[in-house]
């Protein structure tokens, strides 16, 4: 690789929150960043943040659940940049409910987005990584892959499955020098934390989180982006199959 050849990084769910903060951070450090999201508005926002600063950005409206959309977009990236070095599979969604009242569509939405979406993206980028014998992937799991919480059985199941997928990928692709790790964020101040909660419920939840967390504050998306940056980089060259938790001390295990 010549020095002028930028690292090409794909970020899913990069229109807001952790994905957006990560895309911005990696663009600043010189990556060509390919960001997808379901929200066109989110993509416009990130373009306005990255492009005026001279960042190299490609955006796409992609439903990560749809394998043909994912493959088509990856093909578009490869056409433009020839290679993909890193993937941050981060697209996520929440639909809170007790198990008793949970609809099948609430269940499927989370499993399909988090688990199948990550499967789709990993499969699509790993072919090229195997050929090039190089690559690094980070997935967004959660503290809730380790502990359960009420009103979020679909979220917990999805994040735990995602963690298992990550570990299997790590073992399967280590012989090719490809590393796969997961992050397990704690409560981070993002739109997803507000999803499915009224403003009052959100304020209550925030208060509970803050009092219970050893660090006594919510995390910021930029603090998670720094961890993703580390895991994708050569600084983590000997780290694979691990869950690293920027969580304010919420879960230690």
């Amino acid at each position: 690789m010549v020095a002028s050849d930028p690292r090409v990084t794909v970020v899913t769910g990069g229109g807001s929150g952790i994905g957006r903060a990560t895309a911005i951070r990696l663009a600043r450090r010189g990556d060509a960043v390919c960001v997808c999201d379901l929200s066109e508005a989110g993509l416009k926002e990130i373009a306005a943040l990255i492009e005026p600063a001279g960042g190299n950005l490609l955006t796409g409206v992609v439903d990560v659940r749809d394998q043909s959309q994912v493959r088509a977009w990856i093909a578009e990236i490869l056409e433009r940049f020839d290679k993909i070095d890193c993937l941050f599979s981060n697209a996520g969604v929440n639909a809170r409910s007790t198990v008793a009242d949970m609809t099948l569509s609430q269940w499927n939405l989370l499993i399909d987005t988090h688990v199948t979406g990550t499967f789709n993206f990993c499969q699509a980028v790993l072919r090229g990584m195997v050929e090039r014998r190089a690559g690094s992937i980070v997935t967004t799991s959660s503290d809730f892959a380790i502990v359960g919480v009420p009103n979020a059985a679909n979220y917990c199941a999805a994040k735990t499955a995602l963690y298992s997928l990550t570990k299997s990928l790590a073992l399967e692709f280590a012989p090719y020098g490809i590393r796969v790790n997961a992050i397990g964020p704690g409560p981070i101040d993002t739109p997803l934390l507000r999803a499915g909660r009224t403003p009052e419920e959100y304020e209550n939840a925030r208060g509970v989180f803050e009092s219970r967390l050893p660090i006594k504050r919510l995390g910021q998306p930029e603090e998670v982006a720094a961890v993703v940056d580390f895991l994708l980089s050569e600084r983590a060259a000997f780290i694979t199959g691990q869950l690293l938790q920027p969580n304010g001390g919420q879960v230690m295990w």
Partner: protein, 241 residues
């Protein structure tokens, strides 16, 4: 944003800083402009670091050395605990002396150093502590009951300290290496045995001191500002939990 050198001028103590991993951490911090104090029983061969002869088992030696650093440099920002021994022995042949020596250096030494450092970190409302544990804490191993017990104790110590100290802007985390290319495993393993360990590690090699220093520097830096009480497992994928 990444170019800002946050370590410049930080006062750091590295216990076991004359050893392989501790030496790599010391060198990286020194190169980044930190004022690094090596606490060890063996002199450090590194220039540009301050050496203090300290037996980490000895409460008064530890307290005196931290007191001296804190007094003359005004603060203690980072503590990296690396001082440890690895003396494998079959369990039934494990003498109480060997058990106690391992626990005293590998665990009680960490306690004493953390306590002494926290006397400065608490009032200054800033501190970063990284303790080196080991994958043996989780996996155990043949002939390593005492070593595994000491390293498991480190995880418990670190988590409790992380919870107790978070409100004072002190972050505590651990690094758990797998076999690393240092004199410590080579003292008890043949070259052939070291070579065969590689086949058990998915990434196909043993760890390097640079791998461990990278992990340690990450946990000392602002990049890990929301990471506390965590164990960073730097093991090439050999154990996934």
């Amino acid at each position: 944003m990444i170019e800002v050198n946050e370590h410049d001028g930080r006062v750091a103590v590295v216990t076991g800083g004359s050893g392989a991993i501790g030496g790599a951490v010391t060198e990286r911090l020194r190169n980044a402009g930190a004022l690094v104090h090596v606490f060890d029983i063996q002199p450090s061969s590194l220039s540009g670091a301050y050496f203090h002869r300290v037996d980490v088992r000895d409460e008064s030696e530890v307290d005196t050395a931290f007191g001296a650093v804190g007094k003359s440099f005004g603060r203690i920002d980072y503590l990296v605990c690396c001082a440890a021994i690895y003396r494998p022995a079959p369990f039934l042949e494990l003498r109480l002396d060997d058990w106690q020596r391992t626990l005293q250096i590998n665990l009680t030494g960490y306690f004493l150093c953390c306590r002494a450092a926290l006397r400065f970190m608490r009032p200054q409302k800033f501190g970063r502590i990284v303790m080196f544990s080991s994958m043996a804490a989780r996996t155990g191993g043949v002939n390593t009951a005492h070593y595994a017990a000491s390293k498991g104790g480190v995880l418990g110590l670190a988590r409790s300290l992380a919870i107790e100290s978070a409100a004072s802007n002190i972050r505590v985390n651990t690094v758990s290496p797998v076999i690393t290319d240092t004199p410590m495993p080579r003292a008890v393993l043949s070259d052939q045995e070291v070579e065969s360990r590689k086949t058990r590690i998915p990434l196909g090699r043993i760890g390097s001191t640079a791998d461990m220093a990278d992990a340690c520097l990450f946990l000392l830096s602002n990049d890990s500002s929301y990471v506390l009480g965590q164990d960073l497992r730097v093991n090439g994928g050999s154990t996934l939990w």
